[in-house]
Each structure stands twice: as C-alpha cells, then as structure tokens.
Symmetry: C2
Subunit: 357 residues, 2 copies
C-alpha cells in the first residue's frame, strides 16, 4: 500500500504537480475553481504533503533546533511551550533536545540537530565546548542564546541578567533588616545560570559590607527540593545564627522552608527564605516564598518572534546584526520574607519591578 503523493493528486485532479503544489501553498496565482477541485481531491485521498521532500527541494527545512538543559523544569518547559506557540503558526517546527546539564551531550545534540539543517538554533546559555561553539557559528543560521546575557554571545540573545536579579533579591533581604545571610547553590556551577545568581548574591552582600561566607554548594545542577532541605540543615548546623537564605531556585527554597518546618524554626520571624523562578511551589508553600519572577513563556515567545523577523525578510536577513532582547524580571515579595523588624503591620505581598539594564 503506497502512500499518496502529490503526483497522485495531480493525476486525479487532471493538473500538473506544480499546480497542486501551488494550490496547497496559496503561493502563486491559481484559479479559485482549480484550487477548490484540488483541495477536494486532497481531502478525499487523505493526502498529507511530504515536508521532508518539500524542505529538501526548497532548501528550507522548516525546523528550529532548540536545546534546553532539562525538560523537567517549569522554566524550560514554558520556554519550549512559548517557542512552539510562536513557531507553529509560522510553519516552523521545533526540534527539541535536552542536554541533562552536560556539555558533551549538548555537543552531540547540536551535531544531530544541524544534520537536520535547521533554519535557526535556540540554545540555553551555558559554556559550550569549543567544538559546539564552532559548529553553531559555522552552521550559517541564526543562533539565539536564551536565559542569560552571555559575556561573549554567539549571536542573538533573549534573556536577562541572573546576576542582577539575584542581587536585587538579596538587597531585599538586606532591606528587611537581615544581616547574617546565606546562599544555597549548586556545586560545579561554572558557566551556569546558578553561578550568575551566586555572583549577584555576593555583589549585594559586598556592597552592603556584610559577611559573605555562608555559602553552601550542594550537588551539581539540577538540584531539587530534598537537596535544598539537606543544605538548609547543614547550614543551620554550621551557622546557627543565620537569619536569611537566598536559594538558587524555588524548589530548593521550598526544601529549605521544609527544613525549618521540621526544625521548628518560624518563618519569617527567625528566618527569611527567598527563591528564584516563581515556580508553583513558591506560591503555594506556607508561608509563600518570595521569588524572582521570570516568564519562560515570554522568553520562548520573544525568541520565536525574533526568529520570524530574522527569517522573514527574504534577503538581507542573513546579515542582521546580533540582536539582544531583554525580558522583564520582577521581585515578588511574599510571606517568607516579610519585614518583621518594624513589627508593625503584616502587609500583604507587594511587588517591585526590576527593569533589566
């Protein structure tokens, strides 16, 4: 049983394949009646055009390669969703791969993806291997790095400064009167977003001339809730007088909250805890956890719209200078970091906007 192909449609409709091709792409000029006839035959025979052959012929694969560290993470899942939403209507399909936070796997995936001749590549910022970087550059297609603003971008950028955002959140902890502030982060975080957040934390502490020694690295990324809990316990043991902690992510922060709950340490009175990423858990935790809000959906959508702009203009597009799109980041203050120093009123959650750059 052979699959229906365009030639079959052409024969059945009494036209040439070229006419069928045009009818299906609302491309050139086609007599409305001819198109109707062709579309009817297409429906009757259940014809699905072969995009592989089409791409091969037109030298436009219709693919966009997307690389994320993990799928099991709201941030990247939302980013992928935003990308799919933006790309699908434009006839582009996402080729999604996850690296599991491993550079060698990223390198392999980049090669696999490039062998599909994508029209653009979207990669989550990370220190790529030299070979990976070279492949991306040599691919001759737009490359978009997301989720950070790299010091040495490969091409375009859609992101924000994790460092600045973490510094702003740390400043908030300082503002509510905390002075013995710790940080729970990831081990081996060189070149990652987590490292940028750690640096932002240190920036703020140093600017305030506070002690910056309460740093705890748990495991290699990604770290989860249980790592956050264990780290918090270790931190409490080593520095029992700690009065605030910034965590590299919300799940980690929730783990820290649960550690306090188990240890009978009241939040936010004796301990303030802040996270990063506005995951669902930070809102539903009791108390709710203050967090840095970034929209993965927005990043994905911005990347998708940038891609459309880059691929849209038939020519010249190749030499658009690298764009940098900055997405909004916010500091969401919740119950876990309420100001109890004044001991006046328990204000509800307030919201501060941090404009990036």
């Amino acid at each position: 049983m052979q699959r229906v192909k365009m030639a079959d449609i052409a024969r059945a409709a009494g036209v040439s394949t070229m006419t069928v091709s045009r009818a299906l792409r609302q491309d050139g000029r086609i007599a409305p009646e001819t198109r109707r006839k062709i579309l009817r035959v297409v429906r009757e025979l259940g014809y699905v055009p072969d995009r592989i052959a089409a791409g091969f012929s037109s030298r436009r694969s219709g693919f966009v390669g997307v690389l994320v560290p993990s799928l099991n993470n709201t941030h990247f899942a939302e980013t992928a969703a935003g990308l799919q939403n933006g790309l699908h209507p434009a006839g582009l399909q996402m080729l999604l791969g996850y690296t599991n936070y491993q550079k060698t796997q990223a390198e392999q995936l980049i090669e696999t993806m490039l062998s599909r001749r994508p029209e653009a590549m979207v990669v989550t910022y990370d220190d790529h291997t030299p070979r990976a970087r070279r492949m991306l550059v040599d691919a001759g297609v737009p490359v978009i790095e997301i989720w950070e603003t790299p010091p040495r971008p490969i091409g375009h950028v859609v992101g924000f400064s994790n460092r600045q955002a973490a510094a702003a959140m740390t400043q908030h902890l300082i503002d509510i009167g905390r002075t013995r502030i710790g940080f729970i982060g990831e081990a081996n975080d060189a070149g990652t977003r987590g490292a940028q957040r750690r640096l932002g934390f240190l920036d703020a502490l140093r600017a305030a001339k506070l002690d910056a020694s309460r740093m705890l690295a748990t495991a290699a990324p990604p770290i989860g809730m249980m790592q956050g809990r264990e780290a918090m316990m270790a931190l409490l043991q080593q520095w029992p007088d700690t009065d605030a902690v910034l965590c590299v992510s919300d799940p980690c922060a929730y783990g820290a909250v649960s550690a306090c709950q188990l240890a009978g340490i009241p939040l936010p009175d004796r301990m303030a805890i802040a996270g990063f990423g506005n995951f669902e858990i930070s809102l539903c935790s009791v108390p709710a956890i203050s967090t840095v809000t970034v929209s993965g959906l927005a990043i994905g959508a911005a990347a998708a719209s940038l891609i459309q702009r880059l691929l849209g203009g038939d020519l010249a597009a190749r030499d658009v200078p690298p764009q940098a799109v900055f997405v909004d980041v916010g500091i969401e203050i919740r119950g876990s970091t309420l100001d109890t120093s004044a001991l006046t009123d328990k204000r509800g959650p307030t919201r501060a906007r941090l404009r990036d750059r």
Copy 2:
C-alpha cells in the same frame, strides 16, 4: 559560502560519493585505509551529513513523533527524557509536540508530524478526534499509546491502569480506617487519565460499601497546587467531617495539604491525604504525601525499546501484532496517611507493590 556536501568530501578524498556514504555509515565493506582517509577529510572540512537528504533517499526519516499533553509536568518530561535516551543511540530523533490538553491541537500536531514522515508515533492516551485517529491509523507506521491501557487501542500500548492504581490507593485509605473519603479531580475529564483515576476511586468505595458522594471537580486539566488548595477548602466547607481525600495528582494533593495547614487541621490524625504520581513535592512536603509511583522514565524507555524492536527486523516488522507493555506501579505510603486508628507505633514509610494485571 556553500555548505560542504558529500560530493566535496568525495572529490577531496579521490573516491566516489557512494564510498563516502558507506564509510560514514560503517555500512558495507570499506578498506580500513580508505575509511580513515575519508574520515580525516570529513573532519578537516567540518562536514555534517544532511540527514534530510539521507532520509529522503532511503525513505527512513529517522524521526519518531511524540505527543504529550504538557511539557510542564514531571511525568511527561520524564517520558520524553526516557524516549530521547532510548532513541538517540539508535539514530532516531524525537519530534516532540505538546497539545496543551486540547484535542484539536493534538489533531493539528499529528498532521504536522506525519508530514515529516516519522517512522513511529508515540501519543499519550486521550480520546482523539476521529480524524486524528484515522490519520494515525492510515499513517502506516507503528503507533504507541502511552500512560494508559486504552479500551480501544490504536496500536501498541505502553502503560498501566490508572483506574486500578487509584483503586488500590483508595483501598489503602480504607485500610487505615477512614470511612468519609473524598476525591478532588478535574472538570471535563472525559477520556482522560484523571477520569480513570476517579473511576478507580469509586470502584474501591463501592466495593467497600462506603459513601461515594464527596466528589469535587475543580477546573479542566491540568490542575495545579492552588486548585488543590481551593478545592480542599471547598470540600471542608461542604463536608466538614471528611477524614481522607484522594487527589488526582500530587501537586493537587500538596495544595490540599497546604489548605489543611492553613486551616489548622492536623495530618494525618484528622485528615489523610493521598496523591498520584510521586512528584518531588510529595516527598518533600511536611508531612510527606502518600502517592502512586509510576516512572515516566520507564514508560519512555519501554516505548523506545518497543520502537527499536518494531523497526529493527527489516521486514515482517510491519505486521507485528499490537504489543501491550505494562509498567510497574507502586503505592508509596508516607506520613500523610499513616494509620492512627490503632494509635500504637508510628511506623516509618512502608512500601507495597501493585502488580498491574
């Protein structure tokens, strides 16, 4: 600047393109020395084979289409991870799409994917539209439904019975002496996994001749923590004497736990809460939440290995009778449903295995 193609390699190495093709695929017999020479040229010129052209020619796209309802869900993220892990080494690439729990979107995505001529399709069980179903059948490639055992399978199946698993968990609630048991589920759940879990809940209650009226439907899937919290509050208002609740998923269950926390209802003494899925939060919650454990990774891996088997045997494979692979499901008992009726010892978490079918 033209991209390097196989003919360039052939010319540079002084052989024919066919020889290059063979050398790159460790296909037929090639003199070791010739291969070495070719591979060297490939490296020097940074050649990346065009899989689109290759697939076009060999009529093997190397794609496997995968459809999940959502990426932002541990279950499906892990499934995708398991699939990628299993497929990548076999030279297959996953084309991932998410439907956002919408049948029309699923239908569109199926068409998009089929236009890439995948060698197999993996779809998360859901009542598909008739057209979607027909397209899948007509595609002439293996179709694998995952995450349930459908009443009327399209082709192969890798899953388990959500209904039986939910019934087993409900039985556990009965076993610890609860009699006024509620269920928090999703609205408009026709044909979904959530509905199967609801039915399993009812099965167990009816078998035990218990009242089965405490049913609450919140919103359309997917429902999250906050919906769980609100539903729990509503349930407490409507049936204040409820002593146990089964939730359609862990995030929802955590929301219910948080509601109790806010309302000052002690767990598990006055209220037992159980979830589904073994999400991270169920382990880290205080108290930890009893849950049904299913490994998305295992389902993805099983599907990948089934695909390899189906595509491996050069011929005959087309007519393998539909396979049904059942994955293990477990009931993990944790602090949220400890048996307090005996009031003897506080046992640590125990683990019961539920063999499916």
